[in-house]
């Protein structure tokens, strides 16, 4: 049981950092940003390059990768999204998929299609009969710190409100003296940086592959949906809930409840939980998508 909880924490930390970025950009830009997932992959590759080829210490490599990916995100915004102001949210969502494909193939072309590993050898730790590693501890701590920082940034500074104001009515915001370009760039930077950190942690824990995006896509979007799409805090909780559900369902030995034979849900049904949770929550929370008031 303890093991299940530990696994839950680790997985939700990895997914959560990426998910809060999606929620952040949704709350500001009002569209589901698929490119965000790819930022995570790009960030991980950058960290890998810095660490393995340029021999940066790992921590520095991840921080540099976060900054660089933030820069890439800002560039993507400047080249693409900032010029799409009149496009519908659906349109932007499709464009973000286009950006994701482009980044994906660039990564594939540069780094090849096979996967890579950082080759870290973290120490193994043990509490009772539950096992984890020092790296796991780092992942969880970083995730928690990152989320607290973001929460502070959004809710205790004017920045968050200004970002939401921009999303709600850009023209009006401009005429209130809100410097739209700078604000939105900042948001993209934060998103990119968070994605990169999340992606790097993910890659450190497992491996690095160009198709990593497809692996994290469903759990991340399911978490964000669970949290109510535009709610940063909700996305983090969503990641936790989803991760718990997945680990419980797979980890619990249902067979032993009814008979002597052990039987648990085959692990390949893990993704069903992500999608299933998403669908159920959407059915149960119609007010989430409350229609615009009819005046």
């Amino acid at each position: 049981m303890l093991q299940i909880l530990i696994n839950t924490l680790i997985y939700s930390g990895e997914i959560g950092i990426i998910a809060v970025g999606v929620a952040l950009s949704y709350s500001v830009l009002r569209f589901a940003n698929f490119a965000h997932i790819q930022f995570a992959v790009v960030g991980a590759y950058l960290a890998f390059t810095l660490n393995q080829f340029l021999h940066c210490p790992l921590v520095l490599a991840v921080i540099l990768a976060a900054v660089l990916t933030g820069g890439i995100a800002v560039t993507v915004d400047a080249l693409v999204f900032s010029r799409l102001r009149d496009v519908t949210p659906e349109g932007k969502m499709i464009v973000s998929w286009g950006v994701a494909l482009l980044l994906r193939s660039t990564m594939g072309a540069i780094f090849g299609s096979s996967s890579r590993v950082f080759g870290l050898e973290p120490a193994s730790l043990q509490i009772g009969d539950a096992f984890f590693t020092s790296l796991d501890v780092v992942v969880v701590v970083v995730a928690i710190l990152a989320m607290i920082l973001l929460h502070f940034l959004l809710y205790s500074t004017r920045l968050g409100t200004a970002l939401r104001a921009l999303a709600s009515n850009a023209d009006l915001a401009a005429t209130r003296g809100i410097p739209a370009r700078r604000m939105v760039s900042l948001m993209w930077f934060i998103c990119g940086a968070y994605a990169a950190i999340g992606g790097s942690l993910f890659a450190l824990e497992s491996q690095l592959a160009p198709n990593m995006d497809l692996i994290i896509l469903l759990p991340v979007f399911a978490s964000v949906t669970l949290g109510g799409l535009s709610n940063v805090f909700g996305a983090a909780l969503g990641a936790l809930g989803l991760s718990l559900a997945q680990n419980l369902l797979i980890g619990v030995d249902f067979g032993s409840w009814f008979s002597a034979n052990s039987w648990s849900v085959p692990t390949q049904f893990r993704d069903f939980i992500a999608v299933g949770a998403m669908v159920i929550i959407l059915l149960l929370r119609p007010y989430l998508a409350r229609r615009r008031r009819a005046v």
């Binding site: 497992s206 980890g251 692990t267």
Partner: protein
């Protein structure tokens, strides 16, 4: 005469497992180069045309259609799982073309006699050998851990059958989805079951993650696997003496050694086994063409003769009536001092 004989190679250049796939292309190319360097086949050079299957049936068929129709090849070498190889065989059969399989191992591939020939043994054969081997090593209880695909489950079924036939007990069969970042959840059950051994199969990237999950969860049972050479070891210290397995043999043949050296020089790393399967496939194809001619019908006639007495990179090749490899030489390995070392047969 500078007429070229076109030969198709269908590999997945995008999608999963691109690296092995490229090795396979290199192997085919090496054989073709060798034939061409020695003057070609009756003066005609072999021209290798590579197409992408994206590891998807539809794209594989598109590639095959193009090769058969536009490039007028009589035979294709295919790399890819059975979900790619089977559909290609399916369409080649009525078209009267030849498919040479260099990587898929589903037992179903045996259903296309006269169309599909394999230079590696299929799962039914290797699986049974694996089961026997584990039982003979004195293992009584085991957990299976394989990727959830035809290769994994097919092998698992045959191995489990052989293992239980020798009185072994299968505690659990785990088929994991490929490409997951973390397999802790999958392996938790094993922690509880405490088996004598773990029996497995898998591809490099995933196996590394699986090993890591096992190590982190404190699962210390030894691993008996099929094709250990395609496994990626994560932590050599922990793995020391803990990974054993059997592989298609013959790779220690003098020919394979020369090829390995040559490929290492050319591409910077020793190639994976698919290199040698492709090498053999291409060489056999060349022999068949030399014997009978370039049409598919000629090749079909020529292949069974070509294989007789052939000493390839993967040892001697015996085909049954279906064109599938039987009695393959088997090698046994154990992981020691950071590498796979030959081990005695049980």
């Amino acid at each position: 005469a500078e007429d070229a004989i076109p030969v198709g190679v269908i590999a997945n250049l995008t999608g999963t497992d691109v690296q092995s796939s490229l090795d396979m292309v290199h192997g085919a190319q090496a054989a073709a180069d060798k034939i061409n360097a020695s003057g070609g086949i009756k003066g005609d050079k072999i021209k290798v045309i590579v197409e992408d299957s994206e590891y998807r049936p539809a794209a594989g068929i598109e590639a095959a259609t193009k090769l058969f129709d536009v490039n007028k090849v009589s035979a294709v070498l295919v790399f890819g799982g059975s979900s790619v190889t089977l559909p290609i065989a399916e369409m080649a059969q009525p078209a009267g073309k030849i498919v040479l399989n260099t990587s898929a191992s589903s037992a179903k591939l045996g259903d296309y006699p006269g169309t599909l020939y394999s230079t590696l043994p299929l799962d039914d054969i290797v699986g049974a050998q694996l089961g026997d081997y584990v039982a003979k090593e004195g293992v009584h209880t085991a957990v299976f851990i394989v990727p959830n695909n035809t290769f994994g489950t097919g092998l698992m079924d045959k191995a489990a059958a052989a293992f239980t036939a020798h009185g072994g007990k299968v505690l659990k069969e785990i088929a994991y989805s490929e490409g997951q970042p973390d397999y802790r959840a999958d392996l938790q059950a094993v922690q509880r079951l405490k088996p004598d051994a773990i029996i497995g199969a898998g591809y490099g990237d995933d196996t590394r993650t699986v090993f890591r999950a096992a190590r982190e969860l404190g699962i210390n049972a030894p691993w008996y696997v099929a094709y250990p050479s395609i496994f990626a070891v994560e932590d050599p210290k922990w793995m020391e003496g803990r990974l054993m397995g059997l592989d298609n043999g013959g790779l220690d043949s003098p020919l394979a050694k020369t090829l390995s050296l040559q490929a290492t020089k050319q591409y910077g790393a020793a190639p994976r086994p698919n290199y040698y399967y492709a090498y053999d496939a291409m060489t056999l194809l060349g022999l068949a063409i030399e014997k009978e001619g370039t049409t598919a019908a000629d090749i079909k006639k020529g292949l069974p003769e070509a294989v007789k007495g052939y000493q390839g990179a993967t040892g001697s090749i015996d085909w049954d009536a279906r064109g599938q490899r039987i009695n393959p030489p088997m090698d046994y390995f154990v992981f020691r001092n950071g590498a796979l070392q030959p081990a005695p047969a049980p």
